[in-house]
């Protein structure tokens, strides 16, 4: 019965969309300011010209190329206009069906678009994030229907395992393995959590996904709930993402009203409800055990593992916790099959990965590439290289838990393994391009200040160690360091990495260690050459 309802909604909405000759899609992400004015101007122009039966104006999610935003897409024809202002509305509407507005036109052959492989971001910037019918017309919820009516939970577990999907939150734990552990674990009820507490400086993959395709995340979660036997789900999202929260709330409400969440979903025997929990901005709450405590209403502090949340998580029950992007990948794995999915990427790092490309680079924005793509291609082809004649110095991945890849190693393929070998991590997908004018000492000092401020304070090495490391780095910044300080810096990094309680502390020294490995000379240059003690003031 509900299946028919879905088909009816889809057919009706497709009929509605097909009525219009032109669809004008306006990027309405948080990163494109002024899009409300553009929407208003376009709407006014359409009304003035009495084209309301011909032209449909829609706000959609992020189109990716934030540096050229606000972006407007005209369909059919897929004409993309960049840096659109409300004043351009007249000209854009007038050009419909005629010669495009050359001065705003963005070439579709741009490597930024052609080199990407969009899977998770497939619908981002193409559908209205607040419209369930839009998602359905685009093929949404087919994965859930297939899972519920054509697959057993064990089939789904096998499917995810065969795909080789690994967690997109940073550590890259095999998703299928995690799901199977939760499915096997004893305890009831089982919980499911979506970790949307994205906190790395310069990273906005999860925010964009939540803002652009919230239904896809709900669909992924629902499939997961069916596979592991969870009946209650939580999305832990930062309160600093108001637009994402607003769209998620709407998506949950729509899904509930259409029997895509709640009791007996689509007439199956699956019961699954989803609630939103707002994080108050503590970075450590992205760590799964701290996140769980925070959902329980307690102070967000990590606890030692084992037991892992898969066995004892929320309220002591088996809990599946995955990152936003991981869930967003699920529908495509189910509908296209694990073989199709596994063909993307490399042997051990399969599929595509979304990155937030920022820093000194021409094309800043959100990109999705198959794993294994060399950094050089990302920086110079997709990213368009560095502006203003700057030379590349390094690419920082993994934020405050990651490291930097120097320009000399730019041919490194982006996989979990290759980045780990270089002392960095894949992380959640932040990618910061650093040019030759930047000081690595300044950069790592910034990241260490971040870790010091965001340390929860529970364990000694992270709480005091990060503060001591930061003080030492400040000495380097002020060029008042000594060789003994360098030794102490390395010793403290070793201590914090090996004795801290959770991932935040254990990875906090990574940026420093990575910079010391590839840019040691910059640190040595900050050391006083004149060993006159009069000047070596503490």
């Amino acid at each position: 019965m509900p299946r028919e309802k879905i088909d009816r909604i889809t057919a009706e909405h497709r009929w509605f969309l097909d009525q219009f000759n032109y669809h004008i899609l306006v990027c309405a992400g948080l990163g494109c300011p002024g899009n409300d004015d553009i929407l208003r101007a376009l709407g006014q122009t359409v009304r003035n010209r009495q084209l309301t039966d011909e032209v449909l104006i829609r706000k959609v999610g992020c189109m990716g190329l934030c540096s050229a935003g606000p972006l407007v897409l005209i369909r059919p024809g897929d004409l993309m206009y960049q840096k659109v202002q409300p004043e351009d509305a007249e000209e854009i509407i007038a050009s419909l069906g005629k010669k495009p507005v050359e001065r705003l036109l963005l070439s579709p052959d741009l490597a930024f678009f052609t080199r990407q492989h969009k899977n998770v971001l497939r619908l981002s910037g193409r559908i209205d994030p607040e419209s369930l019918p839009d998602y359905l017309v685009a093929g949404g919820y087919q994965a859930l229907l297939q899972a519920l009516f054509a697959m057993q939970p064990t089939d789904i577990l096998r499917c995810i395992q065969e795909s080789g999907l690994r967690g997109r939150g940073g550590a890259g734990y095999p998703t299928g393995l995690k799901w199977s552990t939760v499915a096997r674990a004893q305890g009831s009820p089982k919980y499911l959590i979506c970790n949307a507490d994205e906190g790395d400086p310069g990273a906005f993959m999860d925010r964009s996904l939540l803002e652009s395709t919230p239904y896809a995340i709900l669909e992924g979660m629902t499939v997961a709930a069916y596979a592991v036997g969870a009946s209650e789900g939580f999305i832990y999202v930062r309160a600093e993402y108001p637009l994402a929260v607003q769209r998620l709330k709407r998506a949950i409400r729509d899904a509930e009203q259409n029997n895509l969440l709640g009791h007996s979903i689509c007439g199956s025997n699956l019961n699954f409800r989803v609630q939103i929990r707002l994080g108050a901005g503590a970075f450590v709450c992205g760590e799964e055990t701290a996140l769980i405590r925070s959902i329980e209403g307690r102070r967000g502090l990590p606890r030692p593992r084992p037991p892992y949340p898969a066995e004892k998580g929320l309220r002591g029950r088996p809990t599946l916790i995955n990152n936003v992007e991981t869930y967003a990948n699920i529908p495509s794995v189910i509908t296209n099959g694990p073989e199709w999915w596994a063909r993307l990427g490399t042997d051990k790092s399969r599929g595509t990965k979304v990155f937030a490309l920022t820093g000194t680079i021409r094309n800043t924005g959100l990109i999705e590439v198959p794993m294994g793509m060399p950094l050089r291609e990302i920086v110079y082809d997709i990213g368009g290289g560095l502006p203003g004649g700057h030379a590349l110095k390094a690419v920082q991945t993994g934020g405050p838990s990651g490291g930097c890849i120097p320009a000399a190693l730019l041919d490194t393929p982006v996989t979990y393994e290759s980045l780990n070998e270089l002392g960095s991590i894949m992380g959640s997908g932040g990618m910061i391009v650093i040019d030759d004018s930047a000081s690595m000492v300044d950069i790592v000092t910034y990241f260490m200040a971040f870790c010091r401020d965001e340390s929860c304070g529970k364990c000694t090495p992270c709480r005091v160690g990060t503060a001591q490391i930061h003080n030492l780095l400040t000495k380097f910044q002020n060029r008042k360091a000594t060789m003994a300080d360098l030794e102490m810096l390395e010793w403290l990094c070793d201590l914090v990495r090996n004795t801290s309680l959770c991932g935040l502390g254990q990875s906090a020294p990574n940026p420093v260690l990575s910079a010391l490995r590839f840019f040691r000379q910059e640190f040595l240059d900050c050391i006083l050459t004149d060993q006159n003690h009069e000047e070596v003031r503490p």
């Binding site: 003690h533 009069e534 070596v536 003031r537 503490p538």
Partner: protein, 178 residues
């Protein structure tokens, strides 16, 4: 008979308790002086720090530019430098001012009371560093003897070990605050 080792002792920002402990070794001082010549100390009448010293024991934290200069001079002239007592080892009581810094401490001591003419003394007094710090923040230290003050037995054990050429880790019956 081997030549006597040259011993110096200094007193920076501290209470002289550590020197009292040295005197507390009582008759054992005579045993020590069989091996040691005290060439500079608040306890003897020598005005200039000599050039070549074997063992220098420093009591007190480093609190002023004058302390700093003297410490560097002493370090350069001494074979072994011993941080004697908690003030020299951790900063201890003098370092309690580090929380708010020297100017705030001076204000609260000299101007917040009920004096007739509250003023911060400046004439003839060396300026204070903002923080009182232990010796090893400025120069390398060879032996740390914590304690407030370290007892006479501790000092006797440490000096005896140094006399016998033991410069490695010396187990001492003392701790911070002891």
């Amino acid at each position: 008979m081997m030549e006597k080792l040259r011993l110096a002792t200094l007193w920076f920002d501290g209470c002289s308790g550590c020197h009292m402990s040295l005197l507390d070794t009582d008759e054992r001082l005579l045993e020590l002086t069989a091996f040691l010549d005290i060439v500079y100390s608040p306890l003897v009448d020598v005005k200039e720090f000599p050039d070549k010293v074997d063992i220098t024991c420093v009591e007190g934290a480093i609190s002023s530019p004058e302390d700093e200069r003297m410490l560097v001079r002493v370090r350069n002239s001494s074979r072994l430098l011993v941080a004697l007592g908690d003030c020299a080892v951790t900063g201890n009581i003098p370092a309690m001012r580090n929380i708010e810094g020297a100017p705030a401490m001076l204000r609260s001591i000299y101007t917040s009371g009920n004096g007739l003419q509250p003023q911060i003394p400046a004439l003839d007094l060396p300026a204070l560093n903002d923080k009182a710090l232990p010796l090893h923040r400025f120069v390398p230290v060879d032996l740390f003897i914590p304690g407030c003050p370290p007892g006479a037995d501790t000092l006797f054990t440490a000096l005896t070990a140094l006399i016998h050429g033991n410069t490695g880790h010396i187990a001492l019956p003392t701790c911070f605050g002891a």
